[in-house]
């Protein structure tokens, strides 16, 4: 464990010095993420011009939800996204060999090697946005509510990573260059909507099979509404199952990996 922490610190050091080499890109990335946040806030602002409640939430409650999924996205962009971007190419080109022979977990190495230092600034901005949203929230809340929200949002970021992996790992079998990354980005929209809008089989899809709707919506529901065990246990159970599934597919994928490039 200690070795992995030390290794991760080296990853951080390397990533920050690399980010500083491309200063213009560093600034562009910050502006891009600010635009992403603005567009999301404006989207719901426009909807609230025409309705007073969306999925049972008022505008100030919705702002907390928006800030929450922006935070999840920022964590994902900072910690995982660059690694995820390259993973499919590495499998496709046979570059995984170099990682399989290293004396560290290849999953750890491939998922965390590149810390996106330029997105780190946006992580700070998204924390600021969540603080602003909480400051404008009309109802009272306790520190324990806030702690639970933050812990569940971090869990949400890990779920988001698992979902992304599930749509990349088919590359082991399809040999395509990007896996289903485009599909993943489209599905991300389900994370950006309150889970209550989904009914029937679509609800099953987004809350159990590919649980995008659990990532931010369930944590915010547990924060805004009274804590309830079924919602919490649902979240915990799906998280555990998702990890088991992702690790199982990763292992099977490694067995199917031929090393030859395509």
């Amino acid at each position: 464990m200690k070795r992995y922490v030390r290794l991760y610190l080296y990853f951080l050091q390397f990533s920050f010095s690399k980010a500083m080499e491309f200063r213009l890109d560093f600034s562009f990335r910050i502006i891009m993420d600010i635009v992403y946040s603005l567009v999301n806030i404006l989207f719901f602002k426009i909807l609230f011009q025409h309705t007073t409640l969306i999925a049972g939430w008022r505008e100030d409650q919705m702002l907390i939800f928006v800030a929450s999924y922006i935070l999840v996205d920022a964590i994902s962009m900072t910690v995982f996204s660059t690694n995820m971007w390259w993973l499919a190419f590495q499998i496709n080109k046979g570059d995984l060999d170099y990682h399989l022979i290293r004396p560290v977990s290849p999953l750890f190495f491939l998922s965390l090697r590149e810390f996106s230092a330029n997105s780190f600034m946006n992580l700070l901005i998204s924390i600021g946005l969540l603080t602003y949203a909480l400051g404008h929230y009309a109802d009272p809340f306790s520190w324990s509510d806030l702690f639970l929200l933050l812990a569940l949002l971090i869990n949400g970021a890990l779920m988001y990573y698992c979902c992304q992996m599930l749509l990349i790992l088919p590359v082991f079998w399809t040999q395509s260059a990007r896996g289903f990354m485009d599909l993943f980005y489209s599905m991300g929209i389900a994370m950006e909507r309150p889970d209550r809008i989904f009914k029937g089989w679509l609800r099953v899809l987004f809350t159990i099979v590919l649980p995008f709707a659990l990532i931010a919506s369930f944590p915010v529901r547990l924060f805004l509404e009274k804590f309830n065990w079924p919602t919490f246990l649902h979240l915990v159970a799906v998280t555990i199952l998702l990890w088991i599934l992702m690790l199982g597919i990763w292992r099977r994928g490694l067995r199917a990996y031929s090393s030859a490039s395509s």
Binding site: Y36, I46, H50, F180
Partner: protein, 267 residues
């Protein structure tokens, strides 16, 4: 065979190289965006207790969000980095050696993608209307569909020029994909890709009428649905062409200066 036919066939082969991936992604993207948007609007219509909002019934919203994902794919054509990546890697040099203009070549490869997605839009929309026609929407009209897909193609050309202008910044900067992502955010949001523009405040709509954004997404989509009047279509064609000319002139200026910066080495 003319050179452009060779180029188009080669691009089509690239598009269909991984067929299962391609079709799963296409159907998945379209259906998911449609179903998520439908779920949201269903809830809003129900909570407001209305049948029509800002000129859209729920059924029209469904149609709108069926068209939007494929329409925006048509705009995006060959996707991010079609010029900047090649400048970054130094492979842009080969286009300078070809006996045809690099801009003609890139326009053709880009538009092959747009044309292919246009065919998908044509097929999917026809199938949807065949199976889900309802009384509250005007009868499916193939001339509207053809006109709308044509407008999307013209919009793709204008968007290509906007994107090209930004891609050429790679002659000075190392990494510009973030700028293209920003352009996509702006175009999708201000073009009515997230919410139809009739839901925007009136002042905002008035300003947007003079920009290319509504004509890139909303107007072509509404034309397919039979919601556009002939003057809307003429205005869209005129404004798209005017903006295309403006971007073309800007590209000429940027290229004239940037060409001297290009080393052909790559990073």
């Amino acid at each position: 065979m003319n050179w452009w036919k060779h180029v188009m066939l080669m691009e089509l082969r690239k598009i269909l190289a991984y067929r299962s991936d391609f079709w799963i992604t296409f159907l998945g993207q379209t259906l998911i965006q449609l179903l998520v948007a439908r779920s949201l609007w269903q809830m809003i219509f129900a909570s407001e207790g209305v049948k029509v909002m800002n000129g859209y019934s729920l059924e029209m919203m469904n149609l709108y969000y069926l068209i939007i994902p494929i329409g925006t794919r048509m705009l995006s054509g060959e996707n991010i980095g079609f010029v900047s990546r090649e400048i970054y890697e130094g492979t842009f040099t080969r286009y300078l050696l070809y006996p045809i203009s690099v801009f003609q070549y890139k326009t053709l490869t880009y538009m092959t993608y747009s044309l292919f997605y246009g065919l998908q839009l044509f097929l999917l929309y026809s199938l949807y209307r065949l199976f889900f026609t309802t009384s509250s929407i005007t009868v499916m009209d193939f001339s509207n569909l053809l006109l709308g897909v044509g407008l999307f193609l013209l919009a793709s050309l204008t968007y290509l020029l906007m994107a090209m202008l930004i891609e050429l910044i790679a002659l000075w900067a190392d990494n510009i994909w973030t700028l293209i992502v920003m352009l996509k955010f702006f175009v999708t949001f201000l073009g009515g890709g997230f919410v139809p523009l009739t839901f925007f405040p009136a002042l905002f709509q008035d300003i947007l009428r003079w920009t290319p954004f509504p004509y890139l997404i909303q107007v072509p989509a509404q034309t397919i649905m039979g919601m556009s009047q002939s003057q809307d279509i003429f205005r869209a064609i005129a404004l798209l062409l005017i903006w295309a000319l403006i971007f073309m002139e800007l590209i000429k200026i940027v290229w004239k200066r940037g060409e001297k910066q290009y080393t052909g080495v790559g990073i």
